[in-house]
Symmetry: C2
Subunit: 299 residues, 2 copies
Amino acid sequence: MVTQTPAVDLLFDAVASKGHVCVGLDTSADYVPPAERKKAADDAHAVLAFNTALIEATFDVAACYKVQIAYYEEMGISGLCAYTKTLEYIRKKGGIVIADIKRGDIADTATRYAKAHLAGEFKADFVTLTPYLGMDSVEPWLSQAQNNGGGAFVLMRTSNQGMRDFQFLETNDGKKVYNKVGDKLAELAAKYAGKKGYGIFGAVVGCTERQEASDIRKNYPNLFFLIPGYGAQGGGAQDAALLLREGNGGVVNASRSIITAWQKEAGSQNADNAFAALAARKAAIKMRDEILLETNGRK
Amino acid sequence: MVTQTPAVDLLFDAVASKGHVCVGLDTSADYVPPAERKKAADDAHAVLAFNTALIEATFDVAACYKVQIAYYEEMGISGLCAYTKTLEYIRKKGGIVIADIKRGDIADTATRYAKAHLAGEFKADFVTLTPYLGMDSVEPWLSQAQNNGGGAFVLMRTSNQGMRDFQFLETNDGKKVYNKVGDKLAELAAKYAGKKGYGIFGAVVGCTERQEASDIRKNYPNLFFLIPGYGAQGGGAQDAALLLREGNGGVVNASRSIITAWQKEAGSQNADNAFAALAARKAAIKMRDEILLETNGRK
Protein backbone atom coordinates (compact mmCIF):
# COMPACT_ATOMS: atom_id res chain seq x y z
CA MET A 1 0.00 0.00 0.00
CA VAL A 2 1.27 3.46 -0.90
CA THR A 3 1.84 5.69 2.12
CA GLN A 4 -0.55 8.58 1.83
CA THR A 5 0.18 12.11 2.95
CA PRO A 6 -2.27 12.81 5.76
CA ALA A 7 -5.03 15.22 4.80
CA VAL A 8 -4.07 17.44 7.74
CA ASP A 9 -0.64 18.07 6.17
CA LEU A 10 -2.23 19.01 2.86
CA LEU A 11 -4.62 21.31 4.69
CA PHE A 12 -1.71 22.92 6.55
CA ASP A 13 -0.05 23.70 3.21
CA ALA A 14 -3.32 24.98 1.75
CA VAL A 15 -3.75 27.38 4.68
CA ALA A 16 -0.17 28.57 4.28
CA SER A 17 -0.71 29.38 0.61
CA LYS A 18 -4.38 30.37 0.44
CA GLY A 19 -5.40 31.59 3.89
CA HIS A 20 -7.91 30.17 6.36
CA VAL A 21 -11.24 30.23 4.57
CA CYS A 22 -13.30 27.05 4.42
CA VAL A 23 -16.19 27.61 2.03
CA GLY A 24 -19.28 25.83 3.33
CA LEU A 25 -21.35 24.39 0.51
CA ASP A 26 -24.50 24.02 2.62
CA THR A 27 -26.40 24.53 -0.57
CA SER A 28 -30.16 24.64 -0.60
CA ALA A 29 -31.87 25.00 -3.97
CA ASP A 30 -33.32 28.18 -2.45
CA TYR A 31 -29.83 29.72 -2.59
CA VAL A 32 -29.52 29.18 -6.35
CA PRO A 33 -30.47 32.18 -8.52
CA PRO A 34 -34.09 31.55 -9.56
CA ALA A 35 -33.36 31.73 -13.30
CA GLU A 36 -30.74 28.97 -12.95
CA ARG A 37 -32.97 26.85 -10.73
CA LYS A 38 -35.75 27.06 -13.29
CA LYS A 39 -33.41 26.07 -16.10
CA ALA A 40 -32.08 22.98 -14.30
CA ALA A 41 -33.53 19.48 -14.73
CA ASP A 42 -34.29 19.35 -11.00
CA ASP A 43 -33.16 20.93 -7.72
CA ALA A 44 -30.27 18.50 -7.32
CA HIS A 45 -28.87 19.48 -10.72
CA ALA A 46 -29.42 23.15 -9.90
CA VAL A 47 -27.42 22.76 -6.69
CA LEU A 48 -24.60 20.89 -8.43
CA ALA A 49 -24.26 23.52 -11.18
CA PHE A 50 -24.29 26.30 -8.58
CA ASN A 51 -21.64 24.49 -6.51
CA THR A 52 -19.31 23.96 -9.45
CA ALA A 53 -19.54 27.64 -10.43
CA LEU A 54 -18.70 28.65 -6.86
CA ILE A 55 -15.85 26.16 -6.58
CA GLU A 56 -14.28 27.53 -9.78
CA ALA A 57 -14.60 31.11 -8.56
CA THR A 58 -13.25 30.51 -5.04
CA PHE A 59 -10.65 27.81 -5.63
CA ASP A 60 -7.57 30.02 -5.24
CA VAL A 61 -8.87 31.70 -2.09
CA ALA A 62 -10.41 28.71 -0.29
CA ALA A 63 -8.15 26.48 1.80
CA CYS A 64 -10.87 23.86 1.61
CA TYR A 65 -14.59 23.23 1.23
CA LYS A 66 -17.05 21.80 3.71
CA VAL A 67 -20.14 20.09 2.33
CA GLN A 68 -23.04 19.70 4.76
CA ILE A 69 -24.78 16.48 3.76
CA ALA A 70 -28.14 17.41 5.36
CA TYR A 71 -28.86 19.86 2.55
CA TYR A 72 -28.43 17.06 0.02
CA GLU A 73 -30.25 14.37 1.99
CA GLU A 74 -33.25 16.68 2.08
CA MET A 75 -33.47 16.18 -1.71
CA GLY A 76 -33.33 12.39 -1.40
CA ILE A 77 -31.26 10.07 -3.58
CA SER A 78 -30.87 12.67 -6.34
CA GLY A 79 -29.52 15.09 -3.75
CA LEU A 80 -26.98 12.54 -2.58
CA CYS A 81 -25.85 12.12 -6.18
CA ALA A 82 -25.26 15.90 -6.30
CA TYR A 83 -23.38 15.55 -3.00
CA THR A 84 -21.00 12.89 -4.34
CA LYS A 85 -20.48 14.83 -7.57
CA THR A 86 -19.64 17.97 -5.58
CA LEU A 87 -17.05 16.05 -3.58
CA GLU A 88 -15.59 14.51 -6.72
CA TYR A 89 -15.41 17.88 -8.44
CA ILE A 90 -13.39 19.42 -5.62
CA ARG A 91 -11.07 16.44 -5.29
CA LYS A 92 -10.43 16.15 -9.04
CA LYS A 93 -9.31 19.78 -9.08
CA GLY A 94 -6.86 18.94 -6.30
CA GLY A 95 -8.93 20.66 -3.61
CA ILE A 96 -9.61 19.50 -0.08
CA VAL A 97 -13.11 18.64 1.04
CA ILE A 98 -14.57 18.09 4.49
CA ALA A 99 -17.71 15.94 4.56
CA ASP A 100 -19.83 17.50 7.30
CA ILE A 101 -21.65 14.31 8.24
CA LYS A 102 -21.19 14.35 12.05
CA ARG A 103 -21.26 10.59 12.26
CA GLY A 104 -20.98 8.85 15.60
CA ASP A 105 -21.30 5.10 15.85
CA ILE A 106 -19.22 2.26 17.17
CA ALA A 107 -17.18 -0.73 16.14
CA ASP A 108 -18.24 -2.46 12.95
CA THR A 109 -20.80 0.25 12.20
CA ALA A 110 -18.17 2.99 12.41
CA THR A 111 -15.88 1.00 10.14
CA ARG A 112 -18.60 0.78 7.52
CA TYR A 113 -19.19 4.54 7.70
CA ALA A 114 -15.43 5.08 7.40
CA LYS A 115 -15.28 2.91 4.30
CA ALA A 116 -18.15 4.85 2.75
CA HIS A 117 -16.86 8.35 3.52
CA LEU A 118 -13.06 8.06 3.46
CA ALA A 119 -12.70 5.40 0.76
CA GLY A 120 -15.94 4.56 -1.04
CA GLU A 121 -18.49 6.28 -3.20
CA PHE A 122 -18.77 9.26 -0.82
CA LYS A 123 -15.02 9.70 -0.48
CA ALA A 124 -13.91 12.95 1.16
CA ASP A 125 -10.59 14.13 2.61
CA PHE A 126 -12.04 14.76 6.06
CA VAL A 127 -15.23 13.89 7.88
CA THR A 128 -16.78 15.45 10.96
CA LEU A 129 -17.56 13.15 13.90
CA THR A 130 -19.56 13.54 17.10
CA PRO A 131 -18.08 12.05 20.29
CA TYR A 132 -20.98 11.28 22.66
CA LEU A 133 -20.65 7.50 22.32
CA GLY A 134 -16.97 7.66 23.32
CA MET A 135 -13.59 7.19 21.71
CA ASP A 136 -14.61 3.80 20.32
CA SER A 137 -16.75 5.80 17.93
CA VAL A 138 -13.70 7.79 16.78
CA GLU A 139 -10.87 5.25 16.70
CA PRO A 140 -12.43 2.88 14.14
CA TRP A 141 -12.00 5.69 11.58
CA LEU A 142 -8.21 5.72 12.00
CA SER A 143 -7.41 2.79 9.78
CA GLN A 144 -9.37 4.08 6.76
CA ALA A 145 -7.91 7.54 7.40
CA GLN A 146 -4.37 6.19 7.39
CA ASN A 147 -4.90 4.03 4.32
CA ASN A 148 -6.53 6.80 2.31
CA GLY A 149 -4.78 9.96 3.47
CA GLY A 150 -7.94 11.01 5.25
CA GLY A 151 -8.73 12.82 8.45
CA ALA A 152 -11.52 13.85 10.80
CA PHE A 153 -12.68 16.76 12.89
CA VAL A 154 -14.41 15.71 16.10
CA LEU A 155 -16.94 18.02 17.75
CA MET A 156 -15.34 19.50 20.85
CA ARG A 157 -16.79 22.92 21.64
CA THR A 158 -19.27 24.09 19.08
CA SER A 159 -20.72 27.52 18.35
CA ASN A 160 -24.45 27.07 18.98
CA GLN A 161 -26.48 28.14 22.01
CA GLY A 162 -27.17 24.54 22.99
CA MET A 163 -23.46 23.80 23.53
CA ARG A 164 -24.04 24.94 27.13
CA ASP A 165 -26.41 21.99 27.73
CA PHE A 166 -23.74 19.27 27.82
CA GLN A 167 -20.36 20.46 26.47
CA PHE A 168 -20.04 23.09 29.21
CA LEU A 169 -21.03 20.83 32.13
CA GLU A 170 -18.38 21.05 34.79
CA THR A 171 -16.98 17.69 35.85
CA ASN A 172 -15.92 16.88 39.40
CA ASP A 173 -12.28 17.75 38.71
CA GLY A 174 -13.15 21.28 37.61
CA LYS A 175 -12.82 20.65 33.90
CA LYS A 176 -15.60 20.93 31.39
CA VAL A 177 -16.94 18.08 29.29
CA TYR A 178 -15.49 19.67 26.18
CA ASN A 179 -12.03 19.61 27.84
CA LYS A 180 -12.44 15.90 28.42
CA VAL A 181 -13.17 15.44 24.74
CA GLY A 182 -10.20 17.66 23.88
CA ASP A 183 -7.90 15.70 26.22
CA LYS A 184 -8.81 12.42 24.54
CA LEU A 185 -8.34 13.95 21.09
CA ALA A 186 -4.94 15.36 22.10
CA GLU A 187 -3.87 11.88 23.23
CA LEU A 188 -4.96 10.46 19.91
CA ALA A 189 -3.21 13.27 18.00
CA ALA A 190 0.04 12.51 19.83
CA LYS A 191 -0.12 8.94 18.54
CA TYR A 192 -1.38 9.64 15.02
CA ALA A 193 0.23 12.79 13.67
CA GLY A 194 1.24 14.26 10.34
CA LYS A 195 4.54 16.04 9.70
CA LYS A 196 3.40 19.57 10.46
CA GLY A 197 2.82 19.26 14.19
CA TYR A 198 -0.84 18.28 14.10
CA GLY A 199 -2.74 15.06 14.66
CA ILE A 200 -4.47 13.51 11.68
CA PHE A 201 -7.73 13.97 13.61
CA GLY A 202 -8.53 17.50 14.75
CA ALA A 203 -11.40 19.18 16.56
CA VAL A 204 -14.37 21.41 15.85
CA VAL A 205 -14.06 24.54 18.00
CA GLY A 206 -16.37 27.48 17.39
CA CYS A 207 -15.16 31.09 17.42
CA THR A 208 -18.12 32.50 19.32
CA GLU A 209 -16.61 32.39 22.83
CA ARG A 210 -13.64 34.72 22.95
CA GLN A 211 -12.89 34.19 26.61
CA GLU A 212 -11.92 30.54 26.39
CA ALA A 213 -10.38 30.64 22.93
CA SER A 214 -6.80 31.37 24.03
CA ASP A 215 -6.91 28.64 26.67
CA ILE A 216 -8.21 26.10 24.20
CA ARG A 217 -5.50 26.95 21.69
CA LYS A 218 -2.81 26.79 24.40
CA ASN A 219 -4.05 23.52 25.90
CA TYR A 220 -4.40 21.68 22.61
CA PRO A 221 -1.42 22.75 20.47
CA ASN A 222 -1.46 19.55 18.41
CA LEU A 223 -5.10 19.76 17.34
CA PHE A 224 -5.94 21.30 13.99
CA PHE A 225 -9.24 23.15 14.35
CA LEU A 226 -12.25 23.39 12.11
CA ILE A 227 -13.76 26.68 13.27
CA PRO A 228 -17.46 27.40 12.76
CA GLY A 229 -19.39 30.38 14.05
CA TYR A 230 -17.91 33.07 11.80
CA GLY A 231 -20.24 35.81 10.62
CA ALA A 232 -23.90 34.95 11.12
CA GLN A 233 -23.29 33.23 14.49
CA GLY A 234 -21.36 36.22 15.85
CA GLY A 235 -17.69 35.26 15.61
CA GLY A 236 -15.26 37.69 13.96
CA ALA A 237 -11.71 37.60 12.62
CA GLN A 238 -10.24 38.47 16.02
CA ASP A 239 -12.09 35.57 17.64
CA ALA A 240 -11.05 33.14 14.95
CA ALA A 241 -7.42 34.27 15.13
CA LEU A 242 -7.27 33.32 18.81
CA LEU A 243 -7.87 29.72 17.76
CA LEU A 244 -5.01 29.68 15.25
CA ARG A 245 -1.39 28.89 16.05
CA GLU A 246 1.54 30.65 14.40
CA GLY A 247 -0.80 31.67 11.63
CA ASN A 248 -1.90 28.12 10.87
CA GLY A 249 -3.59 25.25 12.72
CA GLY A 250 -7.14 25.99 11.72
CA VAL A 251 -9.63 26.72 8.98
CA VAL A 252 -12.58 29.05 9.48
CA ASN A 253 -15.85 28.01 7.95
CA ALA A 254 -18.41 30.34 6.45
CA SER A 255 -21.36 29.00 4.53
CA ARG A 256 -24.32 31.25 3.99
CA SER A 257 -22.36 34.52 4.12
CA ILE A 258 -20.38 33.32 1.10
CA ILE A 259 -22.81 31.23 -0.94
CA THR A 260 -25.73 33.65 -0.62
CA ALA A 261 -23.58 36.81 -0.89
CA TRP A 262 -25.03 37.36 -4.37
CA GLN A 263 -28.46 38.13 -2.86
CA LYS A 264 -27.12 41.37 -1.39
CA GLU A 265 -25.45 42.61 -4.58
CA ALA A 266 -26.98 45.26 -6.85
CA GLY A 267 -28.57 43.51 -9.83
CA SER A 268 -29.29 40.33 -7.89
CA GLN A 269 -32.76 40.09 -9.42
CA ASN A 270 -31.11 39.09 -12.71
CA ALA A 271 -28.43 36.92 -11.14
CA ASP A 272 -27.09 33.80 -12.79
CA ASN A 273 -24.53 31.35 -11.40
CA ALA A 274 -21.64 33.44 -12.74
CA PHE A 275 -23.00 36.44 -10.85
CA ALA A 276 -23.39 34.38 -7.67
CA ALA A 277 -19.91 32.91 -8.07
CA LEU A 278 -18.32 36.35 -8.38
CA ALA A 279 -20.13 37.54 -5.25
CA ALA A 280 -18.98 34.42 -3.40
CA ARG A 281 -15.41 35.08 -4.50
CA LYS A 282 -15.57 38.67 -3.23
CA ALA A 283 -17.00 37.52 0.11
CA ALA A 284 -14.35 34.80 0.48
CA ILE A 285 -11.52 37.25 -0.31
CA LYS A 286 -12.88 39.76 2.19
CA MET A 287 -13.07 37.09 4.88
CA ARG A 288 -9.62 35.72 4.04
CA ASP A 289 -8.08 39.19 4.30
CA GLU A 290 -9.86 40.01 7.56
CA ILE A 291 -8.43 36.88 9.16
CA LEU A 292 -4.97 37.32 7.64
CA LEU A 293 -4.82 40.85 9.02
CA GLU A 294 -5.41 39.47 12.52
CA THR A 295 -3.06 36.52 12.23
CA ASN A 296 -0.18 38.52 10.77
CA GLY A 297 -0.24 40.58 13.91
CA ARG A 298 0.06 37.36 15.93
CA LYS A 299 2.72 35.47 13.99
CA MET B 1 -53.40 18.97 8.53
CA VAL B 2 -54.55 15.63 9.89
CA THR B 3 -53.51 15.01 13.49
CA GLN B 4 -51.22 12.03 13.47
CA THR B 5 -51.01 9.42 16.18
CA PRO B 6 -47.51 9.72 17.63
CA ALA B 7 -45.23 6.84 16.68
CA VAL B 8 -44.56 6.20 20.37
CA ASP B 9 -48.22 5.33 20.90
CA LEU B 10 -48.18 2.91 18.00
CA LEU B 11 -45.01 1.38 19.35
CA PHE B 12 -46.60 1.00 22.78
CA ASP B 13 -49.46 -0.93 21.20
CA ALA B 14 -47.08 -3.04 19.15
CA VAL B 15 -45.15 -3.99 22.30
CA ALA B 16 -48.39 -4.87 24.07
CA SER B 17 -49.43 -7.21 21.28
CA LYS B 18 -46.14 -8.56 19.94
CA GLY B 19 -43.58 -8.28 22.72
CA HIS B 20 -40.39 -6.24 22.98
CA VAL B 21 -38.21 -7.39 20.13
CA CYS B 22 -36.77 -4.81 17.76
CA VAL B 23 -35.19 -6.63 14.82
CA GLY B 24 -32.06 -4.79 13.73
CA LEU B 25 -31.61 -4.93 9.97
CA ASP B 26 -27.93 -4.01 10.09
CA THR B 27 -27.57 -6.04 6.95
CA SER B 28 -24.23 -6.53 5.32
CA ALA B 29 -24.16 -8.48 2.06
CA ASP B 30 -21.85 -10.84 3.96
CA TYR B 31 -24.86 -11.92 6.03
CA VAL B 32 -26.86 -13.01 2.98
CA PRO B 33 -26.66 -16.71 2.12
CA PRO B 34 -23.94 -16.97 -0.57
CA ALA B 35 -26.23 -18.65 -3.12
CA GLU B 36 -28.70 -15.74 -2.86
CA ARG B 37 -25.96 -13.13 -2.99
CA LYS B 38 -24.58 -14.70 -6.14
CA LYS B 39 -28.02 -14.75 -7.75
CA ALA B 40 -28.72 -11.06 -7.07
CA ALA B 41 -27.98 -8.25 -9.53
CA ASP B 42 -25.69 -6.62 -6.96
CA ASP B 43 -25.09 -6.54 -3.21
CA ALA B 44 -27.74 -3.89 -2.66
CA HIS B 45 -30.38 -6.07 -4.31
CA ALA B 46 -29.15 -9.07 -2.35
CA VAL B 47 -29.55 -7.15 0.91
CA LEU B 48 -33.01 -5.91 -0.01
CA ALA B 49 -34.26 -9.41 -0.93
CA PHE B 50 -32.81 -10.80 2.29
CA ASN B 51 -34.43 -8.02 4.34
CA THR B 52 -37.87 -8.55 2.82
CA ALA B 53 -37.70 -12.30 3.49
CA LEU B 54 -36.77 -11.60 7.13
CA ILE B 55 -39.46 -8.96 7.55
CA GLU B 56 -42.11 -11.37 6.29
CA ALA B 57 -40.91 -14.11 8.63
CA THR B 58 -40.64 -11.94 11.76
CA PHE B 59 -43.49 -9.50 11.28
CA ASP B 60 -45.83 -10.98 13.87
CA VAL B 61 -43.11 -11.30 16.53
CA ALA B 62 -41.26 -8.00 16.00
CA ALA B 63 -42.58 -4.88 17.71
CA CYS B 64 -40.51 -2.88 15.25
CA TYR B 65 -37.43 -2.87 13.03
CA LYS B 66 -34.29 -0.79 13.32
CA VAL B 67 -32.34 -0.16 10.14
CA GLN B 68 -28.73 0.92 10.61
CA ILE B 69 -27.95 3.21 7.68
CA ALA B 70 -24.16 2.71 7.85
CA TYR B 71 -24.49 -0.76 6.34
CA TYR B 72 -26.30 0.73 3.36
CA GLU B 73 -24.08 3.80 2.97
CA GLU B 74 -21.12 1.45 2.69
CA MET B 75 -22.65 0.26 -0.60
CA GLY B 76 -23.03 3.82 -1.92
CA ILE B 77 -26.08 5.18 -3.71
CA SER B 78 -27.40 1.72 -4.62
CA GLY B 79 -27.17 0.79 -0.95
CA LEU B 80 -29.20 3.84 0.02
CA CYS B 81 -31.85 2.80 -2.50
CA ALA B 82 -32.02 -0.58 -0.74
CA TYR B 83 -32.28 1.33 2.54
CA THR B 84 -35.28 3.40 1.42
CA LYS B 85 -36.95 0.33 -0.07
CA THR B 86 -36.50 -1.57 3.19
CA LEU B 87 -38.11 1.30 5.10
CA GLU B 88 -40.98 1.48 2.61
CA TYR B 89 -41.53 -2.24 2.75
CA ILE B 90 -41.92 -2.22 6.52
CA ARG B 91 -44.16 0.84 6.54
CA LYS B 92 -46.42 -0.43 3.74
CA LYS B 93 -47.03 -3.59 5.76
CA GLY B 94 -48.08 -1.39 8.67
CA GLY B 95 -44.89 -2.02 10.60
CA ILE B 96 -42.85 0.46 12.62
CA VAL B 97 -39.31 1.34 11.60
CA ILE B 98 -36.55 3.14 13.45
CA ALA B 99 -33.95 4.77 11.20
CA ASP B 100 -30.69 4.31 13.09
CA ILE B 101 -28.98 7.39 11.68
CA LYS B 102 -27.70 9.01 14.92
CA ARG B 103 -27.94 12.49 13.47
CA GLY B 104 -26.90 15.50 15.49
CA ASP B 105 -26.89 18.95 13.96
CA ILE B 106 -28.46 22.28 14.73
CA ALA B 107 -31.04 24.74 13.53
CA ASP B 108 -31.69 24.83 9.80
CA THR B 109 -29.46 21.81 9.23
CA ALA B 110 -31.43 19.71 11.72
CA THR B 111 -34.68 20.77 10.09
CA ARG B 112 -33.43 19.57 6.72
CA TYR B 113 -32.44 16.22 8.21
CA ALA B 114 -35.86 16.00 9.85
CA LYS B 115 -37.59 16.64 6.54
CA ALA B 116 -35.51 13.93 4.87
CA HIS B 117 -35.96 11.25 7.54
CA LEU B 118 -39.41 11.89 9.03
CA ALA B 119 -41.20 13.17 5.93
CA GLY B 120 -39.17 12.83 2.73
CA GLU B 121 -37.69 10.09 0.61
CA PHE B 122 -36.08 8.39 3.65
CA LYS B 123 -39.23 8.52 5.76
CA ALA B 124 -39.15 6.43 8.92
CA ASP B 125 -41.33 6.31 12.03
CA PHE B 126 -38.46 7.06 14.40
CA VAL B 127 -34.91 8.28 14.04
CA THR B 128 -32.00 8.02 16.46
CA LEU B 129 -30.25 11.25 17.48
CA THR B 130 -27.01 12.07 19.29
CA PRO B 131 -27.07 14.91 21.82
CA TYR B 132 -23.51 16.28 22.10
CA LEU B 133 -24.37 19.59 20.39
CA GLY B 134 -27.19 20.28 22.86
CA MET B 135 -30.96 20.35 22.87
CA ASP B 136 -31.02 22.71 19.89
CA SER B 137 -29.96 19.65 17.91
CA VAL B 138 -32.98 17.70 19.18
CA GLU B 139 -35.80 20.25 19.29
CA PRO B 140 -35.79 21.13 15.58
CA TRP B 141 -37.00 17.57 14.93
CA LEU B 142 -40.18 18.12 16.94
CA SER B 143 -42.19 19.90 14.31
CA GLN B 144 -41.64 17.26 11.60
CA ALA B 145 -42.32 14.57 14.21
CA GLN B 146 -45.61 16.16 15.19
CA ASN B 147 -46.71 16.73 11.61
CA ASN B 148 -45.86 13.21 10.47
CA GLY B 149 -46.58 11.06 13.49
CA GLY B 150 -42.86 10.55 13.96
CA GLY B 151 -40.55 10.17 16.92
CA ALA B 152 -36.93 9.96 17.99
CA PHE B 153 -34.66 8.10 20.36
CA VAL B 154 -31.82 10.22 21.68
CA LEU B 155 -28.59 8.58 22.86
CA MET B 156 -28.50 8.74 26.64
CA ARG B 157 -26.50 5.85 28.07
CA THR B 158 -25.29 3.44 25.46
CA SER B 159 -23.96 -0.11 25.68
CA ASN B 160 -20.41 0.17 24.34
CA GLN B 161 -17.13 0.29 26.29
CA GLY B 162 -16.48 3.89 25.24
CA MET B 163 -19.63 5.14 27.00
CA ARG B 164 -17.39 5.61 30.06
CA ASP B 165 -15.34 8.27 28.25
CA PHE B 166 -17.95 11.02 28.34
CA GLN B 167 -21.43 9.73 29.27
CA PHE B 168 -20.24 8.58 32.69
CA LEU B 169 -18.29 11.73 33.60
CA GLU B 170 -19.47 12.95 36.98
CA THR B 171 -20.58 16.56 36.99
CA ASN B 172 -20.03 18.92 39.92
CA ASP B 173 -23.50 18.20 41.36
CA GLY B 174 -22.83 14.48 41.59
CA LYS B 175 -24.85 13.51 38.55
CA LYS B 176 -23.45 11.90 35.46
CA VAL B 177 -23.48 13.43 32.02
CA TYR B 178 -25.99 10.83 30.86
CA ASN B 179 -28.34 11.94 33.67
CA LYS B 180 -28.11 15.49 32.38
CA VAL B 181 -29.13 14.26 28.95
CA GLY B 182 -31.93 12.21 30.52
CA ASP B 183 -33.14 15.21 32.55
CA LYS B 184 -33.43 17.35 29.44
CA LEU B 185 -35.21 14.55 27.58
CA ALA B 186 -37.64 14.08 30.45
CA GLU B 187 -38.47 17.81 30.35
CA LEU B 188 -39.10 17.53 26.63
CA ALA B 189 -41.21 14.40 27.09
CA ALA B 190 -43.38 16.21 29.64
CA LYS B 191 -44.18 18.84 27.03
CA TYR B 192 -44.55 16.58 24.01
CA ALA B 193 -46.24 13.36 24.98
CA GLY B 194 -48.45 10.73 23.44
CA LYS B 195 -51.48 9.19 25.12
CA LYS B 196 -49.77 6.21 26.71
CA GLY B 197 -47.64 8.02 29.27
CA TYR B 198 -44.51 8.48 27.18
CA GLY B 199 -42.91 11.44 25.42
CA ILE B 200 -42.86 11.38 21.64
CA PHE B 201 -39.03 11.44 21.92
CA GLY B 202 -37.47 8.66 23.97
CA ALA B 203 -33.94 7.61 24.85
CA VAL B 204 -31.37 4.99 23.93
CA VAL B 205 -30.38 3.13 27.09
CA GLY B 206 -28.27 0.00 26.84
CA CYS B 207 -28.95 -3.11 28.91
CA THR B 208 -25.32 -3.89 29.70
CA GLU B 209 -25.13 -2.15 33.10
CA ARG B 210 -27.49 -3.87 35.48
CA GLN B 211 -26.59 -1.77 38.49
CA GLU B 212 -27.94 1.52 37.18
CA ALA B 213 -30.83 0.11 35.19
CA SER B 214 -33.44 0.30 37.95
CA ASP B 215 -32.47 3.87 38.83
CA ILE B 216 -32.67 4.97 35.22
CA ARG B 217 -36.10 3.43 34.80
CA LYS B 218 -37.32 5.00 38.06
CA ASN B 219 -35.89 8.44 37.31
CA TYR B 220 -37.24 8.68 33.78
CA PRO B 221 -40.72 7.11 33.85
CA ASN B 222 -41.92 9.12 30.84
CA LEU B 223 -39.14 8.09 28.49
CA PHE B 224 -39.70 5.19 26.13
CA PHE B 225 -36.42 3.32 25.74
CA LEU B 226 -34.70 1.85 22.73
CA ILE B 227 -32.49 -0.76 24.39
CA PRO B 228 -29.34 -2.02 22.66
CA GLY B 229 -26.73 -4.36 24.10
CA TYR B 230 -28.77 -7.58 24.12
CA GLY B 231 -26.93 -10.77 23.29
CA ALA B 232 -23.54 -10.17 21.71
CA GLN B 233 -22.79 -7.14 23.91
CA GLY B 234 -23.58 -9.03 27.11
CA GLY B 235 -27.07 -7.91 28.13
CA GLY B 236 -29.70 -10.52 28.93
CA ALA B 237 -33.45 -10.65 29.40
CA GLN B 238 -33.18 -9.83 33.11
CA ASP B 239 -31.13 -6.73 32.36
CA ALA B 240 -33.49 -5.58 29.65
CA ALA B 241 -36.53 -6.15 31.88
CA LEU B 242 -35.13 -3.71 34.45
CA LEU B 243 -35.45 -0.98 31.83
CA LEU B 244 -39.10 -1.73 31.09
CA ARG B 245 -42.04 -0.29 32.98
CA GLU B 246 -45.19 -2.26 33.70
CA GLY B 247 -44.23 -4.61 30.91
CA ASN B 248 -43.97 -1.84 28.33
CA GLY B 249 -41.94 1.34 27.85
CA GLY B 250 -39.14 -0.12 25.78
CA VAL B 251 -38.06 -2.21 22.84
CA VAL B 252 -34.97 -4.38 22.93
CA ASN B 253 -32.85 -4.45 19.83
CA ALA B 254 -30.98 -7.44 18.49
CA SER B 255 -29.35 -7.37 15.11
CA ARG B 256 -26.70 -9.91 14.33
CA SER B 257 -28.04 -12.59 16.68
CA ILE B 258 -31.27 -12.59 14.65
CA ILE B 259 -30.23 -11.84 11.09
CA THR B 260 -27.23 -14.18 11.07
CA ALA B 261 -28.92 -16.90 13.15
CA TRP B 262 -29.11 -19.04 9.99
CA GLN B 263 -25.33 -19.46 10.00
CA LYS B 264 -25.52 -21.60 13.12
CA GLU B 265 -28.27 -23.89 11.88
CA ALA B 266 -27.64 -27.37 10.54
CA GLY B 267 -27.72 -27.26 6.75
CA SER B 268 -26.56 -23.64 6.59
CA GLN B 269 -24.14 -24.45 3.75
CA ASN B 270 -27.18 -24.78 1.45
CA ALA B 271 -29.12 -21.88 2.95
CA ASP B 272 -31.36 -19.64 0.92
CA ASN B 273 -33.29 -16.59 2.11
CA ALA B 274 -36.24 -18.72 3.21
CA PHE B 275 -33.88 -20.76 5.39
CA ALA B 276 -32.34 -17.57 6.85
CA ALA B 277 -35.78 -16.07 7.46
CA LEU B 278 -36.95 -19.14 9.36
CA ALA B 279 -33.85 -19.06 11.55
CA ALA B 280 -34.40 -15.35 12.18
CA ARG B 281 -37.99 -16.05 13.18
CA LYS B 282 -36.91 -18.74 15.62
CA ALA B 283 -34.28 -16.43 17.14
CA ALA B 284 -36.76 -13.57 17.46
CA ILE B 285 -39.38 -15.81 19.12
CA LYS B 286 -36.80 -17.15 21.55
CA MET B 287 -35.72 -13.63 22.48
CA ARG B 288 -39.31 -12.39 22.74
CA ASP B 289 -40.19 -15.22 25.09
CA GLU B 290 -37.07 -14.77 27.23
CA ILE B 291 -37.98 -11.13 27.82
CA LEU B 292 -41.69 -11.82 28.32
CA LEU B 293 -40.81 -14.39 30.98
CA GLU B 294 -38.92 -11.71 32.89
CA THR B 295 -41.44 -8.93 32.46
CA ASN B 296 -44.43 -11.04 33.43
CA GLY B 297 -42.71 -11.51 36.75
CA ARG B 298 -42.47 -7.76 37.09
CA LYS B 299 -45.87 -6.63 35.93
